[in-house]
Symmetry: C2
Subunit: 506 residues, 2 copies
């Protein structure tokens, strides 16, 4: 369609030239008039073409609407996540969708280019939040809070290449839980992993694995492998690609783009293939090279402690100490982790959802200090659940099961058996609403009873309260159970009670 | 502070001039050196000044964070609103926070200048949503939906002059309920007003009044008052200011800025002071001028019908047919309404919150057709609850009452009576979490019992599960009721049951 318009545009340009040429050449008025008429026709055509294309009916790239069925699934997922956060005693906060641009500056390393900026319309320069962690740190510094356990569920924005079938969007939810404060080592860190474990178990979306590592172990490893200090962060970004790329590709980026020596890269290569549990922490604490590095020793000691706590929580079997885990963001300072699904539930289907990481996080002890005027640090550790990928899986699971999802909670439809009862229906439904009953009626003066019953079938409303002239005279309402077609007369004053009893809602 | 920096800047500029002049004049090296030293000192000062101002720790203008206490109040408000929407059988949808810029173009009349645009970073031109109504209409057209009753609660964005103490923000929540579809007249319209009534009653924030009018009555009134067709919308915008401005000011805008004749303005002035109920609709249907206008007649007929339905709903006494109500937005085509609070609850306080409209809406039968490629119309009517003003009132009410709001739901704190019991605490709390108990513990290796009890006092946790060496040996846990200081030994296998029983959570 755009091609059509371009062709027309070109034709119009040429016709314009022709008319100008004829006028310059002082051609006969008839000849000019003929060509001008052609020109006007083309212009009219282009106008229509433009009219047609002017309006594209879509959501912005990388975003989507949620319809009522999707919202029902989303609410189910949120409920599991929120109840887990609350079970761990978290408070909840909210922050604006945009921040001062400078608040986000220098926090995301190479990912900063993905930040959405707002147009400069006068006043402050603003950007859409890229995650919930930086706004949280800004909130702590701004309010001088040194101690909080909070969750925050909200949308974040990244100008990434969307892969929507795999649940990767430009607008997506993050569900964050963080613990801020000066505490004894690894106790809050272990709780974050327990929370990820509880949520992924609760969602019942298949087996999962939580990889853990520590930035101090990575930095120590880089040091003993001969990476110059100045290259720690950028080499860390490259290691982070190991979940998607092969070691060969990662190595060639290290050596080629990042200018690391081939020997250093090879030494890194040996470490990053290691993964295990408590045993690996003990093995590496004996590693002659690594154990000489102070940072690595600290990280390994804490990793050992972490695994002891995870064992007490009974979840150590799902956790893998993995030296290839690096995490992209700049602000991590200690333990880092990432949860991946091992076998998507619908693996038997032809096209299984390919999902990446569904949760991630770590310790960031320096971030709040970056916002504090005096640089006062507040140690933090947290986890972020990526709802979109989980949601994609849940959605496919529901579709595959042909489970019928109700999108409303309506308990009863107020219906009329005869014509001219609109006013009586309005009165009855008003009584029900005022008593807390979830009730609907058709917005027609004289709906057919069959249509009213069909509406209940379609939407899953379990009960129909039917009034006719006889019922009105007798002071009763005919209550029909949609599933069984059973009908009983209920005295009007008992109707609310009876509906509550039958729909099990107190 | 900015002034300070500007002064320094100026001083620096002058000092630079002085140094240059001295050099040109070949002054003595000592003299130059002295002035250069001064220059460097100023530069250093400015550097510090700039350093200080470089980072402003704040949320963007017109926005705010919600702390846990505020979130608790906000959730309470949301629960009342959502349960009302659900009681009326609404489904829920969600749309992206931004839309294609062109989706918002031409929908908001004079308010369009308040739309936030995103920066052009390549790709589509985007704007933050200004309300939830236009995205809803876009959603209906895009998905060819002709029939839905949905709610949508989300933040919208307006580059307005914030008045945050009065609950007016640049980022704020709207809670929208809309009914789309071709139905018999005024039945869905009446339900929208019933919903506003239920919500404002449920929130218990004092007496309120819902003003109603109809765009057709307004247009008819403009016609019979001698307003030219082309000026209907702009005069409508001016009438809309009557809630804040006097009639004299409004008239002078009509005559001065908008170029309306003084006579026409005076005729409008007579109508817009009218307000009443069913009686007024009947009176105006007899009005010799107004009743001759077809649009006005239609509007008045529907208004009469609306009041009949509102009477059946038992809410007519809170509704006022008010000819001065105009509503700013372009897209309304029929009935319009706006709810205002009459006596803020805290009127006895020194500085009462001055609140404006807390809900508004109306019928917009043409909006969906603006998005449909074939212009197919879907009649819609809806209402939007403005949560921020309500929230401001609720917040002040809570503060005034000194009611203590809990920000977590934690049922029990797992505590130790002696040192070296961290591992036992971790094991016990893990058992409780896995049984669905909301539990916390202090993140310390060896917390003092007093500190643990104090934490419960501070945060409102009702129970403490205390373990000591004796309890561990006996297979019991000491359960302490914080309020009464009562302590009982509970066998470990009965602990979950006992906590559930005592915190009334099944």
């Amino acid at each position: 369609m755009a091609d059509e318009a371009a062709k027309l545009d070109e034709a119009l340009r040429r016709q314009g030239d022709t008319v100008r040429r004829l006028k310059q050449e002082k051609a006969s008025p008839e000849e000019v008039a003929e060509q001008v008429a052609k020109l006007l026709e083309l212009k009219a055509q282009l106008g229509t073409e433009e009219g047609k294309h002017k309006f594209v009916l879509k959501t912005p790239k990388g975003t989507r609407d949620y319809n009522p069925k999707q919202m029902a699934i989303r609410e189910k997922v949120f409920n599991i996540i929120i109840s887990t956060f609350k079970r761990h005693g978290a408070e909840v906060i909210d922050t604006p969708v945009f921040e001062l641009k400078e608040t986000l500056t220098g926090k995301y390393g190479e990912d900063s280019k993905l930040i959405y900026d707002l147009k400069d319309q006068g006043g402050e320069l603003l950007s859409l939040r890229y995650d919930l962690t930086v706004p949280f740190a800004r909130y702590l510094a701004m309010n001088k809070i040194t101690n909080i356990k909070r969750y925050h569920i909200a949308k974040v924005y990244r100008r990434d290449n969307p892969a929507m079938t795999r649940g990767r969007y430009r607008e997506f939810y993050q569900c964050d839980f963080d613990i801020a404060g000066q505490f004894d080592p690894m106790i809050p860190d272990a709780e974050c992993l327990k929370i990820v474990h509880e949520i992924l178990s609760g969602l019942q979306i298949g087996d999962f694995l939580i990889k853990v590592n520590d930035r101090r172990i990575l930095d120590g490893m880089f040091a003993v492998c001969g990476v110059p200090d100045s290259k720690f962060r950028t080499i860390c970004s490259t290691v982070d690609k190991l979940d998607k790329a092969t070691w060969e590709d990662v190595k060639s980026e290290m050596v080629g783009e990042k200018g690391l020596s081939r020997e250093a890269a090879d030494r890194i290569g040996e470490y990053v293939q290691l993964h295990g549990g408590l045993g690996l922490t003990e093995q590496l604490l004996q590693d002659t090279k690594l154990s000489q590095n102070k940072l690595a020793r600290e990280g390994l000691g804490d990793m050992k402690l972490l695994f002891e706590y995870l064992t007490l929580f009974g979840i150590a079997d799902k956790i893998s100490f993995d030296l290839s885990l690096a995490r992209g963001l700049d602000y991590y300072t200690g333990v880092i982790y990432e949860a991946i699904l091992l076998q998507p539930r619908n693996a038997h289907k032809e096209e299984p959802v390919s999902v990446g990481s569904v949760a991630g996080g770590g310790r960031y002890d320096g971030l709040v200090g970056m916002f504090d005027p005096k640089g006062r640090k507040v140690p933090c550790v947290g986890v972020s659940i990526g709802i979109e990928r989980i949601f994609s899986i849940m959605e496919q699971k529901v579709e595959a099961s042909e489970e019928k999802i109700r999108t409303t909670e309506t308990q009863v439809l107020v219906a009329a058996a005869q014509k001219k009862l609109l006013e009586d229906r309005l009165k009855l439904i008003s009584e029900l609403w005022d008593s807390g009953i979830k009730a609907e009626m058709l917005y027609k003066k004289n709906p057919k009873l069959l249509n009213q019953l069909q509406y209940c079938e379609d939407t899953g409303i379990p009960l129909v309260a039917i009034i006719g002239e006889q019922e009105l005279k007798d002071g009763v309402v005919k209550l029909r159970v949609v599933a069984t077609r059973e009908e009983i007369d209920v005295r009007r004053e008992n109707l609310v009670e009876e509906i509550k009893r039958r729909t099990c809602q107190p």
